[in-house]
Amino acid sequence: MSEYSVIGKRVHNVDGTEKVTGSAKYTFDVVMPNMLYGKILRSPYPHANILKIDTRRAKRLVGVKAVVTGKDTLGRKQGIWRRFPELCDEEILCRAKVRYIGDAVAAVAAIDEDTAEEALDLIDVEYEPLPAVFDPMDAIKEGAPQIHEGVELNININRHIEWGDVDEAFEKCDHIREDKFKCSSQAHVCMETHDAVASFGHNGKLEAWTSSQSSYYIQRLYADMLDMNESDIRVHNRHTGGGFGSKFELDSAQFCAAILSQKLCRPVKIVLTREEEFTATKRRTPMYYFLKLGAKKDGTMLAKEVRVITEGGAYTAMGATALYLTGFFSSFPYKYPNYRYDGYRVYTNTATTSAMRGFGAPQSTFVGESQLDMMADDLGIDPVELRRKNGMTPNYEVPGQAFIQSCGLHQCLDKIEEHIKKQGKLPPNHGIGVSAYGFMSGGIFNWFNTPYAFSAALVRINIDGKVDVYTGACDMGQGSNTTLSMICAEELGVRLEDVRIFSGDTGICPPDLGAWGSRQTLMSGNAVKRAAAECKQQLIEFAAAKMGANIVYDLDIKDRWVHLVDRPERGVSYFDIVKETIRGKDGVAIMGRGHYTPHRKGMISPAYSFGVQAAEVEVDPETGRYKLVNVTTAHESGTVINPLGIEGQLEGAIMMAGGYGFCEDQPMDEGKILNPSIADYKLIRSLDMPETDILEIDTYEPEGPFGAKEAGEGLTNPTAGAIGNAVYKAVGVRIYDLPITPEKVLKALKEKEKQTKKAKK
C-alpha cells in the first residue's frame, strides 16, 4: 500500500550495522571494572534430598570470593504465573530438595571462569537420592513419587475448554476418528546462552544486564525474590542473542549472579555453558495427545474432543500457558461447532517444560493437521477442500472464547492449492503435505498480575526534530526495535533515520510485558503509535495556529512535511514546526505517552493471524531417509510493517519448526538428557534447509497498529504437520510421534509391507 511512506519498505534493521561489524554488545560481551565470574553447581540427581552442603574447601581455593547456597537466599519461590501463588514453585537455588538433573544447588564467584569452575568440584554436597519419575503417564499413578509437597498425583494444573454439546454432536456424525500422538521436546538453542551481569552497589541497588525477552518481568521477579522495590532494580537489555521463549523467566544465571553480587558488592557475570543451556533451562513441552474427530459425509466437521497430558518437568514456569494454548489452538483454524478439551500438566523429574516459540500450538497443529488429513482420506475429500469447508472466516466468534476479526485463511488455501497444482505430477516418492494454522497476537489474560498497562511507550521529540522512542519491549533479534521505530516514524511523519529507540531498559523505559506470545508488533506497536500520535497532535495544534487551518484535522505530517490534507503542497517543514513548538511551549519538550491493554477481545488475544503451508519431501523408501525439498507458505499477518523482518521470521520459523518435525529431540535416560551439545542435538543447517517460498496475503487487522498483527510464532506451527502429511503422501505411512525420523519411517514402511502381504494371503 503506497499510502505509507515508511511502513512496508525494505529497510535495514536499526541495529544492523552494529551487528554486521561485530560492535553490537551483548550481555555476553559486558565487562566491568572489578567484575567477578560465577559458575553454578547443579544436581546430578533427578530427585534427591539435600542433606548437607559443605562449601569450605571451595572457599579456600585461591581466587574464590564467595560461595552461596540456598541458605543465602530468602528461600522464596518464584514463578511467572504470579496471580496464582501455588504455581510459584521454583526456588532456583534449592535448599532442601532437587527435582531434576540440573537443579541449582550452589554458586561460586571467582576472579575468572576457570577458577570458579574448579571450585565447583570442591563443593561437597551430600544427597539422599529419592525415587524419581520421568513420564507423566507414570507420574499420575497412585504411589508415584511425589515431586512437590501437597501436590497429589503430581498434577500441576488442569485446564478445560468446552463449547457446544460434544457428546450429542458425535452421535450425529457419519464418521468418527480417534487417534493418539506424541509430541517431543525441543530445545530453544539460542545462540547466546543465558547470561547475566548483576551489580549491587553499596547503596543496595541492583543493576543487571541480561539476555532477556522481558526486562520488566526480570525486574519484577528480582524484586519478588530479593524482597526489593522494583525501582531499586534496573535491568538493561541491549542486544539479545535469541530468545524463542526461553528468556522471560528469572533464570539461574540472573538469580545466582545477583545473590553473589549482593554478598560482595562487586559485579558478577554468569554465562551458562551450552551444556547447562540444554540441561538446566526450560524447553518445549512434550505432550501425549488423544484426539477424537467427527464429521458428516460431506466433510463438515461437527465435533472435536481433545485430551492432553503434558510432561511438566520439575516446575510450573510458563507451563500453565502452554497447557491452555495447546487446548485452545487445537480448535484452530476451524469452526468446530462443538469442542471439548481436557488438559493436564504433570510434574516429572525432568527439566522444566515451558514456553517455546508457538507455545503449545506447534504440538496441537501437528496432531490436528495430521488427523485432518487422515479424515480427508477417510471421506475421500481433498485435504485442501476439507480445510476450506471448515476453515475460519473473518468476524468469526469462537464460541465463548475469542473473536476473530481479520482472517485470510481462505485466500491462503487458494494460493496453496494453486501452488500444488502448479507442481503437476510429482516424481515417485515425492509428496506434498498441507498444514494450516492460526495464531494469536499477544495474550490477554493477566496471569503475571501486573498493575500496569500491557504495553506502554514514551516518545520525545528533540529540538533538532529527531525522535526518541522509549519502550519496554525487548528486541531479541526478531527486529521489534526496527518495527516499532517504523511505526513511530510513520505515525509522526518522519523518516526512519530520524528515530532513535531505547528499549528494554527498566531505568528509563515504561513497563512492557516484553517479547512473548507474538505480542510486540500489535501491543507495543499500538502503544508507540499512540505516543507518537500524542506528539504529532502537539505539533499539528501549533502548526494549525500558525498556518491558519480551520481545524487541526485538516493537517497531517508526512515525510517531514506538515501540510494541509487536501492540499499537500501547502505546508511547512516539520523541523521548523518542531523548533517553534518547543519555543512556543516555553521550552517544554514535546512528549507523548501511549499505552495499550486489550479490552473486550475475548479471553485469548486481540487478533489472530493465519496461514497455510505446503511441504514437499522426497523419501528414500529403502532407508526411510527423506529430504525437505521445498516449503511454501501462504500467510497473512495484516499490514506488513517490515517486509524484510517477516521474511526472516518465516524462513527462520521453518528452520526451527522443520527441525521439530525432522530431527530435533531430547532423548532421556532416567531424567538425563542424552544429547546436551550442539554436536549431538541435531539442528537444521544450511545444507539441510529446504527452499522456501512465500505467498503473501493482504489483510487488515482493525485492532493492530496500521492494521498489523503477529508474524513471529504462528509460522512455527504448521511445518511438522506439513512434513508428516507430505511423508504420508509420498510413501503412504503415517508417523504419530515427533520427530519424524528416517528410522520411524522405515519401520512404518516395513510394517505396512507386512500388512499388505498379510492382506494378500
Partner: protein
Amino acid sequence: MSYHCPVCNKVSNKSALDLARHMIGRGDKVHRDWITSKGFKYSELLALQFKSFGGEGFKALAEVLEKETKVKD
C-alpha cells in the same frame, strides 16, 4: 433436569457424564475424596481417560452420579 456436584455444587444441565468429567477434571482433594468414597480410584479413572476414548471408568462414575446428583428443576 440438572446435575449438582456433590462437592462444590457446580451445576451441569447436560448429563451425569458431564458432571463426572467435571469432578475428575477438578481433581482437587475434596473431589477426589468423594470419588474415592464411592469405591473408585481417582488415578485409575484419570489413566483411563488417557488410554481410551469414552473411558469406561468415566461412565461408571457417571452411573453413580446419575443416581445421586440428579435434581429436578
